[in-house]
């Protein structure tokens, strides 16, 4: 379980990014965070991951305050965070290497992940030789290699075209169903937030505060896209963000 308690963040240059943000994400839940650009969504994820210390308030994961990156939390950065100098295999393996897994264990895990993401035959390719969707899948595999209990994703699909985007959303739903990992996903796309988030946290403009938390129990199913409830929720979130219908 992740719990943000009155999290505030003011950068050294005086920019107030977040102000007293409080909400919690249950174990095994998918939560999407949405808000206008520049509302501190990414900052919030960095704080959750332990890479950034909030200037006010605290974040707890399973009851313990977060002070540094945790082994059971994976962060997928915007634009995938892959290393251009590592091939697919080494990009997936790097997290396990850092955490000191045995070489044969890494080999086994990486091979099965490459098959799972459908990139068999591309082990020795470099990120720049892959399409956006393929890079995204490598980033997923790298995160999954560590068998995290929490996955944090910053605009994971924002640079994909509409078709690959839907495919990757389905892929994410499938991963979530198989692993029941807790997922926190930042997005500025209303449809994506509604499709994926069983809980949708709507943030205000900078400094970001929680405007509303929308319950969305029907989410995280691929069929949801065609259901009345889905459209209803999209309208609701659109209104909350302040866009006209």
């Amino acid at each position: 379980m992740i719990e943000a308690r009155k999290v505030s963040m003011t950068y050294p240059d005086g920019t107030e990014a977040l102000k007293e943000v409080s909400f919690s994400v249950k174990k095994g839940e998918i939560c999407s965070i949405i808000g206008p650009s520049g509302c501190g969504k990414s900052t919030l994820l960095f704080i959750f991951s332990g890479l950034l210390k909030p200037t006010g308030g605290e974040v707890f994961i399973n009851g313990r305050p977060v002070n540094s990156p945790r082994k059971d939390v994976s962060l997928i950065l915007q634009d995938y965070g892959l290393f251009p100098w590592k091939n697919v295999r080494d990009n997936i393996a790097v997290g396990m290497k850092i955490q000191g897994f045995a070489e044969n264990e890494i080999e086994k895990a990486v091979n099965s992940l490459i098959k799972k993401i459908g990139l068999a035959g591309f082990e020795r390719s470099y990120p720049k030789q892959l399409s956006g969707g393929m890079r995204q899948r490598v980033a997923f595999a790298r995160a999954l290699a560590l068998k995290p209990s929490i996955m944090l994703m910053d605009e994971p699909f924002s640079s994909l075209d509409a078709l690959s985007r839907e495919k990757m959303q389905d892929f994410l739903i499938q991963i979530w169903k198989e692993t029941s990992t807790t997922i926190v996903l930042v997005t500025h796309n209303i449809e994506e937030a509604v499709l994926l988030g069983k809980k949708i946290v709507v943030l205000t403009e900078r400094p970001g505060t929680v405007k509303e938390i929308v319950k969305n129990e029907g989410a995280a199913r691929t069929e949801y896209r065609y259901e009345e409830e889905y459209f209803e929720r999209c309208r609701e979130v659109r209104k909350l963000i302040g866009l006209k219908d």
Binding site: F46, S49, L51, P69, R70, K71, S74, L75, L77, D79, G81, L82, F83, P84, W85, K86, N87, V94, G95, K97, I98, Q99, G118, G121, F122, S125, Y126, K128, Q129, L130, S131, G133, M134, R142, L146, L163, K167
Partner: protein
């Protein structure tokens, strides 16, 4: 299924580009042969036009090079030892100092030293270096490595400063230690620039080697060249020049080999 096929095809074309390197090598080899032929022809024409003993024809030079070989090899080995030792020494200091400069705090200490010491023409320090280190190998190696050190340090430092925080954050989110950041991000990200700096510094190192071997020694290709010159033995003079060129060329090829092996991603 169609999507997967498409993905596969676009990926394959990417691989094709990599394999295309072989084709490029073929082109390169043909280009090299062409360049060698042109240079030799121009040289031969120049030699026959000038008909001066200071510009013998390529054929004579090749023959004298082969006959001089037994005498040349010890000099070549000494020069190779001096220049390789110097470059390795320079690298072993320049790379670590350059890489740790990715940190603002360390850079604020390192860069003033670079600004003050780099622009000095270090070669003028030779007399002082000889006074301090004597006339043996130590002074030659110190002079070459000092000059190469700055060339590589400046490049490594600039490259490390330019590594995006994004990659460092990406690695740290996986629980990386400071050492992991160097191993997985800073070093591989800067390696292409460091190898380019090495290529440039090979030329510098050999030029300085010639200068350092030009007096107070009786070994090395620099000595061999000057000795042949003073004896007006022009054929041996050319043998020495060719040996020095070959030394530089083989070091250059070695760095290119390293680039091919470790910087495929560029």
């Amino acid at each position: 299924m169609v999507g997967r096929l498409n993905g596969g095809l676009s990926g394959l074309s990417g691989l094709g580009r990599l394999n295309g390197l072989n084709g490029l090598n073929g082109l390169k080899i043909r280009g090299c042969i062409f360049a060698i032929v042109v240079i030799l022809v121009l040289w031969a024409v120049g030699a026959s036009l000038s008909s001066s003993p200071a510009l013998p024809s390529p054929l004579i030079v090749v023959i004298s090079f082969i006959s001089d070989l037994p005498e040349l090899i010890p000099h070549m080995l000494v020069s190779a030892y001096r220049v390789i030792y110097s470059i390795l020494l320079a690298l072993s200091f320049a790379i670590p100092i350059g890489l740790i400069s990715y940190k603002e705090k360390i850079d604020s200490i390192v860069s003033p030293f670079i600004y003050l010491l780099y622009p000095i023409p270090h070669i003028v320090l030779l007399p002082i270096i000889i006074l301090l280190f004597g006339i043996g190998d130590a002074s030659k190696i110190f002079l070459i490595s000092m000059i190469v050190f700055f060339q590589i340090l400046v490049t490594a430092r600039d490259a490390a400063r330019n590594v995006s925080d994004y990659y460092i954050l990406s690695l740290k989110s996986l629980g990386a230690s400071e050492l992991d950041v160097y191993r997985h991000v800073i070093f591989p990200a800067t390696l292409p620039k460091i190898l380019t700096a090495m290529r440039i510094s090979i030329g510098t190192a050999i030029a300085v080697l010639f200068f350092a071997e030009s007096f107070a020694t009786s070994s090395g290709l620099g000595y061999f060249i000057l000795d042949s010159w003073s004896r007006a033995d022009y054929n041996s003079l050319y043998s020495g020049i060719i040996s020095m060129a070959l030394l530089g060329f083989s070091l250059y090829l070695f760095v290119e080999f390293l680039e091919k092996k470790f910087c495929k991603w560029v």
